[in-house]
Symmetry: C2
Subunit: 191 residues, 2 copies
DNA sequence: AAAAATAACTAACAATTGTTAGTTTTGTAC
DNA sequence: GTACAAAACTAACAATTGTTAGTTATTTTT
């Protein structure tokens, strides 16, 4: 019995992410977290080294996945529209896997302290790749020549906030969502 | 000299909103806020009654404006597309007026405590009006028959997060932004 | 200029914070 | 069943929290 089951540390991080989503990092105390796990606050420190570390692990793990993922997508040899669909797909997949972590990524990154700089580097790298995909699509005439900053903001914001929406869908049909959301973001909603 | 200038209480609330945006409500201490205003923590209480109250005033003021505004838009006799443009316009206007307050509205509403229930009522009312506009637009064939939940989520999320983007634009041409963002949200980005 | 009101201050409070030290319980290996 | 490690516990710490009381300084009104 290796690990079909989560280690205690992983259990703690998962619960922490859930609590962070509800109230934000700063408002969650170690006693809150301990109670949610079913132990006393001091016992947490048999498994983790600090509250900070929990946050860092939650956020950097996901941020790394996103940055790695878009790197792969960006270097593929397809049109911009296919790449954008792949980005939508990645967001939906990673968010469905870990909606609570996504919440922390979105709302609590400013409390990273020691790891803040590294996080910002990952985020910049991600946004740069995203931007490149869009600009290439515009140059090749696949995408409309609208203000690229606004375009980027609009799509990226929707994708980054999927964590608010996806958990509400109990019976999530992922492939269908990818298609429908891509359609709305790319083709618009006016008939 | 009535009030071209802000009252001390208003100054405090404005500074509070700025700090809340940077670190979130829970991470901002009364001593932080006092220092930002240039006085001691205890002196704040000559002007406000509690930290809670500051948050409530910031959030409920804006929430009320949004709910009132969409009520007006929804009862106008025009097509759905014009109404949606009006909603975009309202979001851009209110966000440009008060980006820090919008941040608190988005991120710190869960700390409202006593006023939470009232806030949730305002938010529900807002979303209901928004939904009605979209559904009517679909019924009349003005809007595509895409999944309305996804459509609502996508547009509303973009609009709600404008506070992250608008302050970066020093020379904001509001009318232009309204046009360009409406175009992207309504017509899509694919040529 | 005196009086009154406003707004700042210092000092302190009780509660809560993340974390540590030291101890006891629990589970596993021999 | 004894030994060892893992993981829980109790108790406490120093720092920080929102807030109050009481006092002094500043501004406004008379």
């Amino acid at each position: 019995m290796r690990s079909n089951t989560l280690s205690r540390k992983e259990q703690i991080c998962v619960k922490a992410a859930q609590l962070f989503k509800e109230k934000g990092y700063s408002a969650v105390t170690m006693r809150d977290l301990a109670a949610a796990v079913g132990i006393k606050a001091a016992s947490l420190y048999n498994h983790i080294t600090s509250k900070q570390q929990i946050l860092s692990e939650i956020i950097l793990d996901i941020a790394q996945q996103f940055t790695d993922g878009i790197e792969t997508i960006a270097t593929q040899e397809t049109d911009a529209i296919s790449k954008l669909k792949a980005v939508v797909s990645q967001h939906i997949t990673l968010t469905a896997d870990n909606p609570y972590g996504m919440a922390a990524l979105n709302n609590d990154w400013m409390h990273l302290e020691g790891k803040l700089e590294y996080y910002l580097k990952l985020r910049s790298a991600y946004e740069k790749q995203f931007k490149t995909i869009v600009l290439e699509g515009q140059e090749l005439g696949e995408l409309k020549d609208v203000n690229s900053e606004i375009l980027l903001f609009s799509i990226l914001t929707t994708l980054r906030n999927l964590y608010l929406w996806i958990p509400k869908k109990a019976d999530l049909e992922k492939d269908k969502l990818i298609e429908e959301l891509s359609e709305i973001l790319l083709q618009g909603i006016v008939k």
